[in-house]
């Protein structure tokens, strides 16, 4: 199931785009029984805002709640609705991870953690590339293209500022410049054709 199916679906939605609708469509498109959403009191949002886990199907938790779980820091859930929305949608996008992109060994985990902490590698691993992809995927489903083009025009004309756009979309204000940047126009078709290969540091490429 390609991401482009979810993207096409999301383009018909009104803003703010509801996470419940995105999740239901993901379940429909993937044929999964469940995608669990969870809150963790032990996640420190200064270190980790949230995460996605795919759990082995033989584990009792997966049998009860499904193999895919998106976890958000309780502190974020309780204090920042826009961050809660963006982080959970970005992590949901990892449902589209390919086998190559999965972080499923100690060595890949080492590399991924190292990339988050150093951000200085000339070319990103497939695991970090998927992190970047999911950042852009989340932006693209939370802001239908017709609305993005409209915002771009209005911001250029001084009728809206970045905060206004963030408030309408209910996403973190700091991501609005990336949404409206020319680079987005170049990334979107690559994203829809699943051809994104990132050769920049994570800080430059995404969140």
């Amino acid at each position: 199931m390609p991401f482009s199916d979810l993207y096409e679906f999301s383009q018909e939605l009104d803003i703010k785009v509801r996470r419940k609708i995105i999740k239901e469509e993901l379940i429909r498109l993937t044929g999964k029984n469940k995608i669990a959403m969870a809150v963790s009191g032990s996640l420190d949002p200064k270190i980790c805002r949230g995460l996605y886990l795919s759990i082995k199907s033989e584990h009792i938790w997966a049998q009860q709640h499904g193999c895919d779980v998106v976890v958000i820091s309780r502190q974020i859930r309780d204090t920042n609705y826009c961050w809660d929305r963006f982080v959970t949608v970005k992590e949901m996008m990892h449902i589209f991870d390919s086998e190559v992109e999965a972080c499923d060994t100690g060595d890949k985990f080492d590399t991924l953690i190292g990339e988050f902490c150093s951000g200085a590698l000339p070319e990103l691993s497939p695991q970090m590339t998927s992190e970047v992809k999911c950042f852009w995927r989340a932006l693209s489903v939370l802001c239908p293209e017709r609305k993005r083009l409209d915002f771009k025009t209005q911001v250029a004309a001084g009728k809206l500022n970045h905060y206004d756009v963030a408030l309408k979309l209910r996403i973190p204000e700091q991501y609005v410049p990336q949404l409206l940047h020319e680079r987005y126009d170049r990334i979107l078709p690559i994203l829809l054709n699943d051809e994104l290969v990132v050769k920049k540091s994570p800080a430059e490429a995404g969140p």
Binding site: C48, L51, L53, H59, H65, F116
Partner: protein, 61 residues
């Protein structure tokens, strides 16, 4: 710290429940590998102990 990382990886993958893990880093600019991996381990412990709080999105979420 290396020993802790090795234990974390073993617990997650070799003897653990994880098929794929992805992260959303926090607001700190200077993340430390051991701290970040510990966050994953904390959530895995919550799953193993069935302590993770499940949530449902509301219609307006």
């Amino acid at each position: 710290m290396n020993d802790e990382m090795e234990m974390t990886k073993h617990r997650l993958f070799e003897n653990g429940l994880v098929k794929n893990v992805k992260l959303y880093p926090g607001s700190d600019r200077d993340l430390i590998p051991g701290e970040l991996s510990e966050q994953v381990l904390r959530v895995v412990s919550e799953i193993e102990n069935d302590e993770l709080e499940l949530r449902e999105f509301g219609d307006d979420d």
